[in-house]
């Protein structure tokens, strides 16, 4: 639960907050698929907050899958990063909230995204940069979709991060079976062969997500594959 200037928001408020945003129905499934993962991260895992968006010691959350950001905006609003009053303007000319988020416009957004396959490589660089400055505390999290993993740039990042031992790097893959060509051996296996610590959990189960997110993984980057209902089911 979080208190903002007007009131306190919890997980059950998120559908109402999302309902304030209209106009991107085609991204609806993409938005709700991320909702539980985002809530658990922002409510219980990430050491971030509206008062420390420039704190170099904060955790970093990079929304790579910038499609359908309604759940993201709803969570950021619930946590006080942006005013709830911004939500109804979603996608309009005067709104900072686009159908793909822009870090320059959205308080708390670490990257602008929309084009797929950029978040994980940037997260690798962020983890390297923090390490080079002796900041071993902040965790770097990046959220991708299962179809987004088709982008080769992600495979460059996955293949590098494991051997590089980037143990402050974390990826959450929202798996709603939307990739046209399933990955042989499954998603977690792709990461495991590259030296990542990997686990697949029910993406709607908050306790399972929390446990997976907080499981120690010394010396290795960590991926959590969060399975949710198929996009086209």
């Amino acid at each position: 639960m979080t208190t903002t200037a007007e009131r306190t928001y919890g997980c059950t408020d998120l559908p109402g907050l999302m309902g304030l945003m209209t106009g991107a129905e085609k991204h609806g499934p993409a938005a709700t698929s991320t909702l539980d993962v985002l809530w658990v991260l922002y409510d219980r895992v990430l050491r971030v907050g509206p008062e420390r968006t420039d704190d170099p010691e904060r955790d970093r959350f990079l929304l790579s899958k910038g499609h359908g950001p309604m759940a993201y905006y709803a969570v950021l609003a619930a946590k006080g990063f942006l005013p709830v009053g911004w939500l109804p303007g979603f996608g309009s000319y005067d709104s900072p909230l686009g159908h793909h988020p822009d870090r320059v416009l959205v308080p708390g957004a670490e990257i602008g995204s929309g084009s797929l396959g950029h978040g994980l490589p940037i997260a690798v660089g962020t983890a390297l940069g923090l390490r080079a400055q002796g900041r071993t505390d902040p965790a770097v999290w990046v959220l991708t979709g299962d179809a987004e993993l088709d982008e080769g740039s992600n495979h460059e990042a996955i293949a590098y991060a494991g051997p590089a031992g980037l143990d402050r790097l974390h990826t959450v893959v929202i798996d709603n079976s939307s990739a046209s060509h399933a990955r042989p051996g499954g998603i977690a296996a792709r990461f495991e062969v590259a030296g990542w610590s990997a686990e697949t959990v029910d993406g709607r189960d908050h306790e399972a997500l929390y446990t997976a997110f907080t499981t120690p993984h010394p010396g290795r980057p960590r991926v959590v594959v969060a399975r949710v209902e198929p996009k086209n089911a």
Binding site: R60, I111, G112, P121, L130, G152, A157
Partner: protein
């Protein structure tokens, strides 16, 4: 004489020693030159393997974490292959980096077209806010590299440094901003970019033309051009070591309020499909002194 690229590792290694925010990102190419620096700064000399999308993305992430990344590989793989990363991971994220290329237009003709990128500067011209340095001598490369990484540019500036195997015989005191007036005349202005200066000077020997020397082409020193045209008239010849006409629009903008003519000389668009030597490609593209003289005198009537 050593090449511009020979200066990269010594200069950047010193910058690594001096400034804890500097990091180098490589994709295998050039890694051997940084072996010693890598020993001293293992967390700040990073080789991501043959992964050019990651090269730029990781550079952007380093910048987001507060570092000043210097990203190096051949121009084809630095600007062209990961172009969307250059556009989004740096530009759209509003963070900076220093991209340093080698093997641009036809530095390595025997390598063929796969290793040529004469369109690099034109491609960056589709993006906003890039500073582009095109040194014409290893000493100038050293000055401009230092300027790019921190001495002149702000920490979040997006800078491209184009290192070439071509070089002029001597260096000039470049400052990372302004064009230099190398020769003054009354019948036209010739702008020579980076390593074509010697050829341009030979080509314009005895002509009554002003020669400006440009090693920082973006932002374009419109003030120097306008000043030169004030005395020498508004016939302008651009000689660029990359795609012909890359800066023509920039010259047109600088002279928008006065009648003017512009001739853009540089590397041709057509793929040559030849190997051989650098000089042979310079000649094939009409950038040798004799051909330049012919084309410049034909234009400056």
């Amino acid at each position: 004489m050593d090449t511009m690229r020979d200066r990269l590792a010594p200069v950047v290694s010193r910058l690594l020693d001096e400034d804890p925010r500097v990091a180098v990102v490589l994709a295998e190419i050039g890694r051997d030159c940084f072996t010693e620096a890598s020993r001293r700064h293992p967390d700040r000399v990073l080789n991501v393997g043959i992964r050019e999308q990651l090269l730029i993305g990781a550079g952007a992430g380093l910048a987001l974490a507060g570092m000043r990344p210097v990203v190096h590989t051949f121009a084809s793989f630095l600007v062209e292959r990961p172009f969307e990363q250059v556009k989004l991971d740096l530009g759209h994220q509003d963070v900076g980096a220093v991209l340093v290329s080698a093997a641009a237009s036809h530095d390595w003709p025997a390598g063929g077209f796969t290793h040529m990128a004469p369109g690099d500067v034109a491609l960056l011209d589709t993006l906003d806010g890039w500073t582009v340095h095109v040194p014409g001598h290893p000493d100038e490369a050293e000055t401009l590299l230092r300027h790019a990484v921190g001495a002149g540019e702000a920490k979040d500036d997006k800078v491209y440094v184009r290192l070439s195997a071509q070089s002029n015989g001597r260096s000039l005191p470049v400052d990372g901003q302004r064009f230099l007036t190398v020769r003054e005349g009354r019948r036209g202005v010739v702008v020579a970019v980076g390593p074509v200066l010697d050829s341009v000077l030979a080509a314009t020997e005895g002509l009554d033309a002003t020669v400006l020397y440009a090693t920082t082409v973006r932002p374009f020193d419109s003030t120097a051009l306008r000043r030169a045209t004030g005395a020498a008239g508004t016939d302008v010849v651009l000689v660029e070591p990359y795609l012909a006409g890359t800066s023509t629009a920039t010259v047109n903008d600088a002279l928008a309020d006065v009648p003017h003519r512009v001739l853009g000389l540089g590397v041709g668009r057509r793929e040559l499909r030849r190997y051989g030597q650098l000089e042979e490609h310079v000649t094939a593209h009409g950038l040798d002194a004799a051909t330049l003289r012919e084309r410049i005198t034909g234009f400056l009537r």
